[in-house]
Each structure stands twice: as C-alpha cells, then as structure tokens.
Symmetry: C2
Subunit: 284 residues, 2 copies
Amino acid sequence: VSVVCVNGRFVAAKAARVSALDRGFLYGDGLFETVRAYGGRLFLPGDHFDRLAKGAEAVGIVPPFDADGFADLLEATRERNGLTDALVRLTLTRGEGPPVPDPAGSGPPTVVVTARPAPRDDPAAWQRGLSVVVARQVRAGQGALKSTSFLTHVLALKEARERGADEALLVNPAGEVAEGSVGNLFGVWAGRLATPDPGAGALPGVTRGVVLDRARRLRIPAEERAVPVKALEDAEELFLAGTGWEVMPVTRLEGRPVGPGLPGPVTERLRRAYREAVRAALSA
Amino acid sequence: VSVVCVNGRFVAAKAARVSALDRGFLYGDGLFETVRAYGGRLFLPGDHFDRLAKGAEAVGIVPPFDADGFADLLEATRERNGLTDALVRLTLTRGEGPPVPDPAGSGPPTVVVTARPAPRDDPAAWQRGLSVVVARQVRAGQGALKSTSFLTHVLALKEARERGADEALLVNPAGEVAEGSVGNLFGVWAGRLATPDPGAGALPGVTRGVVLDRARRLRIPAEERAVPVKALEDAEELFLAGTGWEVMPVTRLEGRPVGPGLPGPVTERLRRAYREAVRAALSA
C-alpha cells in the first residue's frame, strides 16, 4: 500500500488520514468491497457495486458515486499504485458525526480506497491446500452486510493462526456453518455441491455467485442449503471461494485430511471454470 | 466535542485525525469505554478499565496504559474540554496495519479520547420515560465485548428513531432480550427484578452492576436470567441502565404503556439508590 485515495484525493499511505470522529472509526459504521484486478482490468466491479449499494441502502448511507464512479475510483487507485494484478478495497463510512451511537446528523460519507498486490499463482500452495479449523471463540452473526464491523471475522482468523491453521469457519447459533473469515465455504457430498445459504449467516460473495453459476453450466448439481458442522466430517471435498482465494481447496479440517487430503476433482473443475469466467469477463 | 486526545496529544476536534489504515477504521478492530464524570470526578473508572483490560486480553491488544493512566487520560480530556459533568469516551484500536483481516503485524494501538456534556437532570423526561421498540431489522450477537464493531447497535437505534421511539431492544436468535442499543434492560415481574444474563448477549454493563448491587442491599429480589421477548408484555416495570441513561424508566413498549405507563416504584427506588452510589463513590 503506497498510495491511498481519501475522498477523491491521492496521498501517500503514511499521510492518509481520516477524522478521529469518523463513525467508521468510532462504531464500525461503514461498508467495504474488495475487487480484484487481473492484468490491469477489474473483475466484475458492477457486482461489487451492486452489493455495496444494497448494503448502503440498508444502513442508510448514500454513496457519493454511481457504478461507473465506483469503478473509476478503484481503477485510478490501482493505477497510481503501479499494480496490474491487485486487490483494490473501497471503504465507505457514514463519515464524521457526533460521538454518539445515533447516526442522525452524520456525514458526508468518507471514501477510502487502497490497493495491494494480488497473490501470485502458486501451484505448490494449490496442491498443499488450506488447513482450516472451526472457530471456537466466536460465532457467526448476521451475514447480510459486508460491514466494517468485522471484529468477529478478525478474531476467527486470529484463532486460526494461533491453532496453526490458515482459516477458520464461523458457525451460527444453530450449529450450521456460515462462512470462512474471508471467503465462502463449498463442499461436495455424494458428488453434489453445496454451500451455506445466506440465511445461515453467509455473506453473498461475488466469487460464490460465479462458482454457483459455473457449476450450473457444467451441470454439477449445486444447492444453497444448511450445512451442519457435523456434515463437514463426511465431505468428499471442501473449498473456499473469495476474491483473494478465488477457488482454493481445503485439504485439512481440524488437523485431519479432507477426503484423501488433496485437491478434489470437483474443486479442480470449478477452479478452471472460475478462471475461464475471469478470462471471459475481461475479454468482453 | 472541542478538544480530542489522539495518542496522548490534545488537538482541536476538527484537526483530530487517525490513519486511514487504522484497523479501527478498516475492520472495527477495537474497543471503547464511556465513563461519566459528575462535578469534575470520574465515576468508577476502575470498573471501566477492568472491562476494557479483559476485552483487550480477549482480542489480543495491549493497552498502552494501566488503570491510573486510563483515568488520567479521561480526566485530562474532560478538563481540557472545560466540562465538569461529562461523558468521556476512550477508544482503543489495534492501530495501523496491512489492510488484510489478519491482525498480525499491526500496531502500536491507537488511543482516542473525546468528552461531551452529560445529559442534565430533567424531571419531565423522567416522568415521560422512554418509548422502546423491539428491533426487527437486526438481532443480538455475542455481547461480551464492548467493541467498535458496533453497527448492529447503530442500526437498532436508527430503527427506533424511524419508528418514533427512543430506543430499541436487541433480541438474540433464541428469542430472548439481550440489551438495548446503549444500555441494559431490567424488568420487574411479581415484584422481582430481572435482567438478561450475559450469556443471552448482554454486555456486562458497569451501571448494570451497580444496580444489581444496590438492589441486593435494598433486599429487592434480583436475578440475571433469560428474558423472553414475550415476557415483556407482562412486566410491571421496565427500565434501562447505562452510563448515559443512569436508571431510566421505559414507559412505552411497542407503543403500548408498560404497567400504568409511569415510572414504577422499584425503578424510582433504584434510581435513588444509584444516585446514592454515585455520591458515595465520589465522596470516598
């Protein structure tokens, strides 16, 4: 992160500042989106904008940009950072306001955009896959908003690291898997693909949407449904899907191998299909 | 808010800035406490520090102050703002870090202190009491941490305002009341006082603790237990307890009067007892 865009102005990261009375800082009163750029082009910025706009409507923040303005901000920040393969994050908060929970009288909104290099393709990392645990210290809440009130996810990831794993799954009070801290979970049971329903606390991920769409095109039976924690033990394959992960196999769960402990065939197919979706979108 | 303390430096509110890469801003990765000052003296700063220290331990942030340093920061900020009756808020975040959820490599922590005038005694407001609704748009999550990931509470309060009420109660997935957006709920049933258990998602409020202690001294039967939403209809009295509210009667619930629609006798007794606790602590 070397250049940050704060309310439309580009500044060095070290000099990038927001008000100490910004409601994003005081109350996690904001939303964010992270969009990936491949070879200098944003992947599905419109889908990310749509989710952000829906969330903003729900929490009562009016974004100071439309879909084109959103993409332009991300694009300009990517370029100023000299990156072609990048993860570009836009944070939209309710802005400065009186330091009381009531959001009335706050604003205008604050917009901060950062960019960092995307992870490089690493065949060894793919073969190794991810080691995942089920979070014990926190449980999933409502998943509908991609909000900056993200501490539950931060603590899940912290727990994963402390337990020697790469990622932790959040479980809702009903004992169903909601999602990972930075991606959606998919599993294969009896050859059928399943992923937790948004009602279970899963964020409706953009990558998740692409995977479901491609599975349908490949005629892989796929459903959004409840995934009880217990069911994970019997999964033939597990993988995580997210803007950073893309499609990434989970080869160990709670220290035990998932299936044979290697990336599975459905995961392999969907990874290729996801990459095709990227190519198709960028050449459109 | 005219003077704000940022990492030990006092600056005008308009000039108070934190990094745009502060994890408090990006991820709600922080904690806060609001302490009340009466006549120029802080009320129970040690209790607030203890809760903050426990939360910091849980999330893995090391506060750059001890109990005395905490009180000194609050006290200095109160004084610089020329306030004697004040609500002084300290925000502690994990500090600046790479813009990824993993908290590794972040810090040092950021500390921001603000002060604003405490509400004045208003006998008419007391008689009128609060109009409260049950939040429909959000539900309670874990209540153990007073974190800056506070959007659920912000949205509950926003809903209350939109529905013409003063406050909204958060309900957990089991259908039990957890707390209000800025205070703990108490009720009276058959002359017995009850308040939701922390296990239901209630934050263990400092004011709540004082109320429970005083109830015991007054030999008012009091318990921490599950309070199903349904039970609210039969309550003889309801009140909210918090640093800002102190003890405040709830006289309307979902637009209908609670009991006779006036502050009840147990609420009145506990309000007096709370004020006595304040006087006792400040004259000690």
